[in-house]
């Protein structure tokens, strides 16, 4: 059963998440197939429609490969259905609007694109044609403000962008190139281009789902073939050159020493910007602690629960994880959180059946707060400075257990690829935090 504290938080995903819905990739597949009738509506050649599907399918595979939670095609499928329905007839238009609303519910960031599209169409008289300019402008302003509000509300909800910067950069280059080239000569496509660009920008924000990237991939694939059809020889060549350039940039980025991984170390951000925060000096940790931590709370990922004691395995001497995957534990032979030195807290990323207490740990970002209540009644507050992932065979014992001059906190769980044969994850995710308030 799913007993992890972060699932107790009311969440749309819990209602219509992957468990209750078809898997995200199946809907992505359906969205790809929908590109054919949409291409037909746009009177694209069969060649181009097939090309668009091929592009989309490959882009979605890429997204699925590099996204930790996988590609989610639900929003793209709903938007595709909406686009297909949108032309001809009032009832179909109503269904199209419902499909767009559904897409926005599945992935709120897609709602940003829909609102930008509505705003753009209103400004361009593609919508509300019989109304006055003033009304259309007012509608556009409301829609665009709504888009900004949704985008802001989604920032940092989940912690980190769904995709690694490299893939986002490739998607961005591809999309901006196509939209930019279509912008001048194809005014009717401008609201679409603006909407796709808005969703693309949102995909860079921390806390985005991969659904928005799949939507951008579908739109960009379709716009690419529109571009190639409209501009034929000259631009087709430019497109080829750009694709090659994008590939070269991507290869350069993947080169050694660049990037630093999906979970990069983030520089410390002060919670108190007026000056360097003071460290309440921690008392030196006694060899045998009489005080112990009682509860842990990480609001950013919905963790709030008790702490059990962890000890080293008598045989392997490695730190044993808690027995209960839904409960985090404290390395009791180590440092008490709030005392000088690194206190270590471990928790499972998942059980055999679902998320564990530290499932969301990898989504923490610098500045997130961790509160520990201690048995002496005090509560200590730590601020996350970085989230890092290490292969287990290169576990940074030095960085996790090494001496620290002040109270610090390390949160440890599993991550990376799950080795099914070994029933074991290949990496450890380590969150570093510093004391910010006693």
């Amino acid at each position: 059963m799913l007993t992890a504290p972060d699932l107790v938080v009311p969440d749309l995903d819990a209602l219509i998440g992957p468990d209750a819905w078809l898997p995200g990739l199946a809907t992505a597949l359906a969205a790809g197939l929908l590109l054919w009738p949409i291409g037909s509506r746009l009177r694209l050649l069969p060649t181009s429609r097939a090309a668009a599907i091929a592009l989309f399918a490959v882009a979605t595979l890429l997204i699925d490969t590099y996204s930790e939670l996988g590609a989610d095609g639900r929003a793209a499928f709903l938007l595709g259905a909406g686009a297909w329905l949108a032309v001809h007839g009032r009832w179909r238009a109503v269904l199209a609007v419902l499909a767009a609303v559904g897409a926005a519910v599945v992935s709120p960031l897609v709602g940003v694109g829909v609102l930008v599209l509505i705003g753009g169409l209103a400004l361009q008289a593609g919508l509300l044609r019989r109304w006055s300019v003033g009304v259309r402008r007012a509608v556009a302003v409301v829609a665009l403000l709504g888009a900004v509000a949704i985008a802001l509300s989604q920032v940092r909800r989940l912690g980190a962008p769904a995709l690694p910067p490299l893939l986002l950069a490739v998607l961005t280059v591809w999309t901006l190139l196509v939209v930019g080239l279509l912008w001048r000569r194809q005014p009717w496509l401008r609201p679409v281009g603006a909407a796709v660009t808005a969703v693309l920008a949102c995909a860079w924000l921390p806390g985005t789902a991969s659904a928005s990237a799949v939507v951008v991939a579908a739109s960009a694939a379709l716009l690419t073939v529109v571009l190639v059809e409209e501009y034929r020889t000259l631009l087709a060549r430019q497109l080829l050159a750009a694709a090659v350039a994008a590939g070269a940039v991507a290869l350069a980025l993947v080169g050694p020493g660049v990037g630093g991984g999906r979970v990069a170390h983030v520089a410390d951000t002060a919670d108190d910007r007026t000056g360097a925060p003071a460290i309440p000096a921690g008392p030196p940790g006694p060899a045998f602690a009489t005080v112990r931590p009682v509860t842990i709370s990480i609001p950013a990922i919905g963790v709030d629960g008790p702490l059990e004691d962890l000890e080293a395995d008598p045989v392997t001497r490695e730190l044993a994880a808690p027995d209960d995957p839904s409960v985090a534990g404290w390395y009791a032979a180590g440092v008490v959180p709030g005392d000088t030195g690194p206190a270590v807290i471990g928790g499972h990323v998942d059980s055999r059946s679902g998320p564990g207490v530290f499932f969301g740990l990898r989504r923490l970002v610098a500045g997130d707060v961790v509160r520990i209540r201690r048995s002496d009644g005090s509560t200590v507050r730590f601020t996350v400075t970085g989230v890092r992932r290490y292969p287990k065979d290169r576990f940074p014992t030095d960085a996790v257990y090494g001496p620290a001059p002040a109270p610090e906190l390390r949160l440890v769980t599993c991550g990376g690829v799950f080795d099914r044969a070994e029933r074991n994850y290949q990496d450890n995710v380590v969150v570093d935090a510093v004391l910010s308030k006693r």
């Binding site: 360097a276 030095d398 960085a399 510093v434």
Partner: protein, 298 residues
């Protein structure tokens, strides 16, 4: 919508197909690239960056240390002065460039001495106020935050005992610990077994004073040598500490239950790959057919 339709040209389909094939190939190349993205970052011992003041002369008036960020001069930290031979508590600062200045306490007077500090992520620094009656200086000591071997601690000696220009410090059995240590200087860190260690310090050739030091495993300690007249004594300051027992290796904290959270992911990916291949094939075939059909005199 799509009202901008141009008449066919012979090469139209073919170019579309070529463009699509190249883009597809580029993206596929990205797909099969090794996941070199998960390279482990460099390990830094501490998560924060820390700074403290050590008072290493006894002739200075009451002073305080002003730490000003170069990037944001308005944000500055004041560390109150401490007694001779003592160190302040650590203050956490953002990594970056700083100007640190020592000035008489509570005064707007110009600083007695100042220096610059490039504070790195995960490092900790002790700023020593050194010198004599005539001139004072600030010395930057970088504290060692690396893990000692199991059951051991790291110890360094800071010489703040002025009468002798240099001191010899020896460990148990007369083993050299730091020979010819100048006043105002710090020795390198040396690892010692946890427990009590007796260091002996004295001017070269002169009788040495025994200085007992007690350290715990995984502790980093500075022994500050101070003098009252010609007598040498010491103050033991903890630079950093960690768990006395360090479990080696990683933590196994997952059973893979969320890996199955994407049921059918493999089948879906395979289906998408088939779709991509089929669509590319179709595009190329349609392009070739249309291109071929239209080639010729027209």
């Amino acid at each position: 919508m799509g009202s901008h339709h141009s008449p066919f040209r012979p090469s139209r389909h073919r170019r579309t197909a070529v463009a699509a094939a190249v883009l597809t190939a580029t993206l596929t190349a990205l797909l099969v690239m090794p996941a070199a993205l998960s390279s482990a970052p460099q390990a830094a011992a501490a998560a924060g960056t820390y700074l403290r003041l050590a008072q290493l002369i006894d002739v200075m008036p009451d002073t305080e240390l002003i730490v000003s960020s170069v990037a944001d001069p308005r944000s500055s930290v004041t560390i109150a002065g401490v007694g001779y031979g003592s160190v302040s508590a650590y203050r956490r600062i953002e990594p970056g460039d700083y100007v640190v200045a020592l000035r008489p306490k509570g005064s707007g007077k110009p600083p007695l001495v100042s220096t610059t500090l490039n504070a790195m992520v995960g490092k900790s620094y002790t700023l020593g106020a050194v010198g004599d009656k005539k001139s004072s200086g600030l010395k930057i000591f970088t504290d060692d935050l690396t893990l000692p071997a199991a059951g051991r601690a790291k110890v360094r000696v800071i010489d703040a005992a002025p009468p002798a220009p240099v001191l010899d410090v020896r460990g148990p059995g007369g083993t050299p610990f730091a020979l010819g240590l100048a006043c105002g200087a710090a020795s390198a860190y040396r690892e010692v077994p946890a427990g009590s260690v007796v260091l002996a310090a004295g001017a070269p050739g002169a009788p040495a004073t025994d200085l007992p030091v007690t350290v715990a495993a995984n502790q980093v300690v500075s022994v500050v040598l101070i003098s009252r007249g010609t007598a040498i004594s010491s103050r033991v300051q903890v630079d950093a500490q960690g768990p006395t027992a360090v479990p080696p290796g990683p933590v196994d904290a997952g059973y893979g239950g969320t890996v199955g959270e994407r049921p059918g992911a493999a089948a879906g990916a395979a289906a998408l790959a088939v779709l991509a291949a089929a669509a590319t094939g179709l595009a190329v075939r349609l392009g070739r057919k249309a291109g071929g059909k239209r080639q010729g005199p027209c």
